[in-house]
């Protein structure tokens, strides 16, 4: 195998320009794909943050009394996984409101009775899945003594729809860029093969097997893919550090932002995908040339 790797490296050196173009093309495609992945990973985290990890408020009917609480809690727990549940009595809710509206206490003095309902604040374990959260909330809303359930369904649903559309567009773009990289890799191998026609003819004449002839091309494809992936990720990393610090500095005071670079797992998958891309381009080309 070392012999094949040495041969592939020598071939890359002898066709420097062609190989450089391929590696740069793969790296740009990987850059675009990684950029989308980075965006989706961070956007999902931010949305999860906005959604406070599945928090919901259950407003109870005026007929509810605190003695009914254990029974209601038990019924809610049968409907789904609840990580945390806290009862907020109507008097506690009013105190909270007063605390939040310091300076407008005159308004509260005009109230003849507490208009706020009893409520339960819960955190559902729905793993950030909006549909699961919605279904859980609807089941709770159908319970006796429950007036309504609030979990940000209005704006969050609309935002998630836009986000889904964006995600689909992203996938399509990623696919397109990967196809372009595949096409260019396949063509580089084809050009390299034709530039070494005499060498391959001689190899065959002296008894080289198909494996002996093809393996250096495959190693070359794998190296191109891997190096393209590494270069793409390095460019993204440099761009990330340049841009993310500015975003965090300017926006974190206004909105919840937790921007991070791609996880090790995602980077591993990207590198594997780009290496596979190099190999697959080579496979397609050699299959066609040597058939």
């Amino acid at each position: 195998m070392i012999r094949y790797i040495k041969k592939a490296l020598a071939d890359i050196r002898s066709n420097r320009f062609l190989n450089l173009i391929t590696i740069v093309t793969i790296s740009l495609s990987i850059l675009v794909v990684s950029l989308f992945l980075l965006f989706f990973e961070n956007a999902s985290r931010v949305i999860e943050g906005w959604n406070q990890g599945g928090r919901a408020m259950i407003y109870l009917t005026p007929a509810f009394s605190p003695e009914m609480l254990p029974d209601l809690e038990a019924r809610i727990k049968t409907l789904g996984e609840v990580e945390e549940m806290r009862f907020i009595s109507k008097s506690r809710a009013l105190e909270r409101l007063k605390d939040e509206m310091t300076g407008n206490t005159g308004f509260f003095e005009t109230l003849k009775e507490n208009p706020l309902p009893h409520a339960l604040e819960i955190r559902m374990n729905t793993h950030g899945d909006f549909q699961q959260m919605k279904a859980f909330a609807e089941k709770i809303a159908a319970l006796e003594m429950v007036e309504s359930v609030e979990y940000g369904q209005g704006w969050l649903a609309r935002f998630l729809k836009i986000f889904s559309l964006f995600r689909i567009t992203g996938y399509a773009m990623c696919g397109l860029f990967l196809l372009i990289a595949l096409f260019i890799t396949a063509n580089t191998v084809r050009l390299a093969f034709y530039s070494r026609r005499l060498e391959i003819e001689i190899m065959r004449l002296v008894g080289a097997t198909q494996g002996f002839i093809k393996t250096p091309f495959y190693v070359e494809g794998l190296l191109q893919g891997f190096l393209g992936g590494v270069l793409g990720l390095l460019i993204l990393l440099a761009a990330f550090f340049t841009v993310s610090s500015g975003i965090s500095r300017n926006l974190s005071a206004y909105v919840y932002l937790d921007i991070r670079f791609l996880s090790v797992r995602a980077m591993g998958i990207i590198l594997l995908a780009s290496t596979f891309l190099g190999w697959f381009g080579c496979y397609l080309s050699l299959k066609q040339i040597l058939k």
Binding site: L198, E199, I202, M203, L205, V206, G207, A208, Q210, F212
Partner: protein, 231 residues
């Protein structure tokens, strides 16, 4: 055909015909070649000399007839076994067929590399063969920097480095001056004396007659017209 000698023939051709469209390159050629023979394939240009060698190393398939090499029928050789057959041949071409981007050493070593030999053995064997062909000092040179005679000596070194039992040489002296041609033929003769079977196609029978002994197979328009012994 002599039945006893046929039994031991290393190469046997039975009514071999090769057509390229309407053109008949080989026409019903039958011949037995014994191990250790030096065979000249002579005849004018277009007589079918190169085609005869090509059908032996399966660069071309015969249109009709059968070829046996050591009892192995070439028509039944699978593509997986073809490389193994070719490793039994050493081949020399008029245009040398050396890889221009590889050094002399690497060109010769290729034969042993494809056979999966170990690097230490390859180094030792290649340097030995280059020494015997007088090309040791040019081991690191690239073929385009060498003269025609030197390139052909490298090609001959490549042909013998794998210790093949059959050497096929297609006009090996065709593009060389007399002195270079003599060097190449001397080397082939020396290898032949070790027991190898050599088939050498050439239109220049006079040069061969003056230097080597063997059997001459004369082709004309694809047909075997005469077999004679060169003394």
């Amino acid at each position: 055909m002599n039945l006893e000698s046929s039994k031991h023939a290393i190469i046997r051709l039975f009514n071999v015909t090769k057509r390229y469209g309407a053109k008949m390159a080989l026409n019903d050629v039958s011949v037995d070649i014994q191990p250790g023979e030096f065979i000249f394939i002579s005849g004018p240009s277009g007589a079918g000399k190169s085609t005869l060698l090509k059908v032996l190393y399966l660069a071309e398939k015969v249109s009709e007839g059968q070829i046996l090499i050591n009892g192995m029928n070439l028509a039944r050789i699978s593509s997986a076994k073809l490389p193994l057959l070719r490793r039994r041949f050493g081949m020399v071409f008029q245009d040398f067929k050396l890889i221009p981007g590889r050094t002399v050493f690497e060109n010769v070593a290729l034969v042993l590399e494809v056979a999966g030999e170990k690097p230490a053995y390859i180094r030792k064997k290649v340097m030995h063969v280059l020494r015997t062909t007088g090309m040791e000092k040019k081991a690191n040179a690239l073929p385009p920097t060498l003269s025609g005679g030197e390139q052909q000596r490298v090609a001959v070194a490549r042909a013998v480095v794998g210790d093949p039992d059959i050497i096929l040489a297609d006009e090996p002296t065709g593009s060389l001056d007399h002195a270079s041609a003599k060097l190449v033929l001397d080397f082939l003769m020396a290898y032949h004396k070790n027991g190898a079977t050599i088939l050498l196609a050439s239109h220049n029978l006079h040069l061969l007659e003056s230097m080597v002994r063997g059997r001459n197979i004369e082709l004309e328009q694809g047909q075997l017209v005469k077999t004679s012994t060169l003394l």
